[in-house]
């Protein structure tokens, strides 16, 4: 058979001697490829954080690196010592109104991102959808545990608050505080860290609530949210979050131009995170009511590093993202892997379909942050409403 250079299932680059894909475990000599992984299926067990659910990767019966059948219970090959795919390496979750995908990428040995997607009902019976995405800070201890803990705490807090009828904005603040507490608690659980003096467990955070036609975003750090309308001609995609990062700060302070700031080696140093050593928790939230159909993306920098501007990122969002959010999330993850996969990649897609008020409305939408630096204040709760004229 012709030499494969990437895995037909997940696009993982392959070595000539590979018998199995190192990312998804697919047998590369299998002539009858499976349909794409988990394409478009709704899942029942979707409320737990993705980081703790092992449903996505089924344990292979032979080593994905050398094909040996001797696999130890602790996840290493008894022949070549290679680590076998772990549940968190690649996970997908899809339910009505939201889908998420996370992937280890190519250059990190484990996935330190985590996400959760869930759906519930407000007291009045209207559906509500939430998504949480966290990115463990690599220079901290146990970043994978930090992101999983934050996601679990935030998802639980959001669902509980919404079911109790709290306002989305208040629910969002509460969730960020719960997540921050969960991550900070990891620093005091007595687990010894190998390798010595690392920082306390830490992660960045972004989450979204879509309920009753309104979207509420909350974030800390450099995980982001983007609004991508279906019609990208008459409406403009834009970024909803402003990073807690060195580059964002110097640009906001007028010390550097954007190009110069983002070219600096310090550009991506984050100035806000969840963790015991975070000086002050500054949760940012923003709400808006979309009046055109589109999708909301929340993602880690493993994705947006390859398409930073909303208009660039929108080029990689499939046109049918709103009707097939899981496929859109898969497409975006594959794009980031193909672009280098330097970091873990996580993206959640929330289809937004506002009731059609008027036929073919002319819209004045949000402008992207990059051209409108005075948009919703990143340091305080800001509520902005895009209004159809």
């Amino acid at each position: 058979m012709p030499q494969q250079t990437v895995c037909p299932s997940c696009a993982e680059p392959l070595e000539p001697e590979d018998v199995f894909c190192g990312a998804c475990g697919r047998n590369l000599n299998d002539p009858d490829p499976d349909p794409g992984p988990d394409s478009g299926q709704d899942r029942d067990s979707s409320e737990g954080p993705a980081g703790t659910d092992g449903a996505e990767v089924t344990a292979p019966s032979s080593c994905v690196h050398c094909g040996s059948a001797e696999l130890a219970a602790d996840g290493y090959c008894e022949s070549c010592g290679g680590v076998q795919p772990r549940p968190r390496d690649h996970q997908e979750r899809s339910l009505a109104g939201v889908a998420g995908v996370t992937d280890r990428g190519l250059r990190h040995h484990r996935n330190e991102d985590a996400f959760a997607v869930a759906a519930t009902s407000l007291p009045g019976g209207e559906p509500a959808v939430v998504a949480v995405v966290c990115d463990g800070v690599s220079s901290s201890a146990r970043p994978d545990e930090a992101s999983a803990a934050a996601v679990e705490a935030a998802a639980k807090s959001l669902l509980t608050a919404l079911e109790q009828g709290r306002e989305p904005d208040a629910a969002m603040h509460g969730a960020i505080e719960e997540a921050a507490r969960a991550v900070a608690d990891l620093a005091y659980d007595g687990t010894a860290t190998s390798g010595g003096s690392l920082n306390a467990p830490a992660c960045t955070y972004v989450s979204a609530i879509s309920a009753a036609g309104r979207i509420t975003i909350g974030w800390v750090g450099d995980t982001r949210a983007y609004w991508i309308p279906d019609d990208r001609v008459s409406a403009v995609p834009y970024r909803l979050t402003e990073d807690d990062s060195w580059a964002a700060r110097v640009v906001a302070a007028g010390l550097m131009g954007e190009a110069e700031a983002y070219a600096d080696p310090r550009a991506h140093a984050i100035t806000g995170w969840l963790g015991a050593d975070a000086e002050e928790l500054e949760p940012h939230t923003v709400s808006f009511t979309p009046h055109v159909p589109g999708v909301l993306l929340i993602c880690t920098d493993g994705l947006w590093n390859y398409a930073e501007a909303a208009t660039d990122l929108a080029c990689f969002v499939p046109a049918d993202a709103r009707t097939d959010p899981l496929a859109a999330a898969q497409t975006l993850v594959k794009f980031a892997v193909a672009a280098g996969g330097h970091d873990n990649i996580t993206v959640a897609v929330l289809p937004i379909d506002p009731p059609a008020i008027e036929p073919a409305p002319t819209l004045v939408d949000f402008q992207p942050f990059r051209t409108l630096p005075d948009l919703p204040s990143a340091t305080a709760t800001a509520t902005a409403t895009a209004t159809a004229i």
Binding site: G22, E78, C80, G81, G82, V83, R104, R107, H108, G196
Partner: protein, 448 residues
């Protein structure tokens, strides 16, 4: 009752390493700390009535004391007298039920007690008889240590039911009355049958010779420069022997296909290279002997060369287990730890050096520098000796090995410890030189 006859200490394995490797890097270093606790805490001291301490049955043990009775032991005469007294103290330290014998060593071995080709069983009466028998120890004859070890071996073989078998060997001179090859043949035969602690009294014995015996037989070597120090040393050695709870423990190291185990060294409490002691133990695994254990902790440095992998990959570089052979030929795994390799392009991670690895790498260099320096000094190459001992002073200072630093100061004048600038002292005593050389392998632990 705190222990049962089948119990052994609980073993734990802790791994200290920086698992992160830069792109293309292949060498993985780890310090493996093995700690045994729980079984041997009551061992060592016989209770006042001579029964075993703490009420629980102790692990069965057998001991043979080999005392040099060559002619030189009478010069000065106090050497023989002190050896006799020290052996008596060692006998007093035997707990009831321990199988034992005393062998007098010259160019041949003579059983002093019990003298019937078997081992006696310690109780009040046999201890007394043994001490009476020590009067028969008289200096006269040559030195052929291989014959002593052969006799001890034959005595131990009369009790195949006892796993913990330990010899104590005292000599004051060189192994002059047999060929080195003869001694080596004996060592090859008795290896794995029993362990031996060697003591050199005075300064006329050969450090390398005794170290070869103690290393092969997984024991310690030390100098007792003053014969008057023998009794205390023998008591302490025997107490440690009585505290041993489990014998024949091996360090089993599995490494992946295409990996090379570059070396395995014990690095605390002393440096012992075990690399050559490997015995195959199934696919890609080998066993390295560690002898018998009481309540104690030892550190090992494992260095593995693994096949290079791309950034983002993780590999198990070694699985380190403590195993205990069973009568049916299988082995029981007491504890295990994992040595990992993770390739990253994060320089901050891959360039970090684990403090334990750095510490013991320095200790091994220190030990080697002293041995090379003293060998050069004996060969008359003072420049080379000064350079090596200068390096040793610098390393001892860096690591904080104060014991070794003090021993070095008796041989060289330290001008600048940080730079390793030294001058050989005039009139260095032979005892100080030999003490430095003998104890060059002793290490200190890093503060964790």
């Amino acid at each position: 009752m705190t222990t049962s006859s089948k119990s052994h200490p609980g073993f734990s394995v802790d791994i200290f390493q920086n698992e992160y490797l830069a792109d293309g890097a292949r060498e993985v270093n780890a310090i493996v700390t093995v700690t045994a606790t729980g079984g041997g805490t009551s061992g060592g001291r016989p209770a006042a009535d001579g029964t075993s301490a703490a009420g629980g049955p102790q692990a069965a043990a057998a001991v043979v004391v080999m005392v040099d009775c060559s002619g030189s032991m009478d010069y000065p005469a106090e050497k023989m007298r002190n050896a006799r007294e020290a052996t008596a103290v060692a006998i007093d330290t035997l707990r009831d039920g321990v199988a034992f014998a005393v062998v007098s060593g010259t160019h041949q071995a003579t059983e002093v007690y019990p003298g019937n080709g078997r081992l006696a069983v310690a109780d009040r009466a046999t201890r007394e008889q043994a001490k009476q028998a020590l009067r028969k120890l008289d200096a006269g004859g040559g030195t052929a240590i291989g014959t002593w070890l052969s006799r001890a071996h034959r005595l131990f073989e009369t009790r195949p039911d006892i796993a913990i078998r330990h010899g104590i060997l005292l000599t004051d001179g060189r192994n002059e009355h047999e060929k080195p090859a003869d001694l080596q043949r004996v060592l090859d035969t008795v290896t794995g049958s029993f362990t031996v602690d060697c003591r050199g009294v005075g300064t006329d014995w050969n450090v390398d010779e005794l170290r070869r015996i103690s290393s092969t037989l997984l024991g310690t070597v030390d100098i007792v420069a003053e014969p008057s120090g023998l009794a205390e040393d023998f008591r302490s050695m025997m107490e440690k022997t009585m505290a041993k709870q489990v014998a024949d423990v091996a360090l089993r190291i599995w490494t992946p296909a295409n990996a090379v185990l570059k070396y395995v060294k014990q690095v605390a409490p002393s440096v012992e290279d075990l690399t050559g002691r490997r015995e195959g133990a199934g696919p890609r695994a080998g066993d390295y002997p560690t002898g018998s254990w009481g309540d104690e902790s030892r550190d090992y440095h494992v260095c593995i060369e693994v096949p290079a992998a791309a950034v983002g990959n993780e590999m198990l570089a070694a699985r380190v287990s403590l195993v205990l052979p069973q009568p049916d030929g299988t082995s029981e795994v007491l504890s295990q730890g994992l040595v990992r390799a993770v390739w990253t392009d994060d320089l901050a991670s891959s360039t970090r050096i684990n403090s334990q690895v750095a510490h013991y790498t320095g200790q091994a260099e220190l030990s080697a520098a002293i041995q090379e320096g003293m060998a050069a000094h004996r060969a008359g190459d003072v420049d080379h000796a000064t350079a090596k001992l200068g390096a040793a002073v610098r390393l001892a200072h860096e690591i904080g090995n104060e014991g070794t630093f003090r021993l070095l100061q008796k041989v060289v004048d330290v001008v600048d410890a940080k730079e390793g600038t030294v001058r050989f002292r005039k009139n260095v005593s032979e005892a100080d030189s030999m003490t430095l050389e003998t104890r060059s392998t002793k290490t200190v632990r890093v503060k964790k």
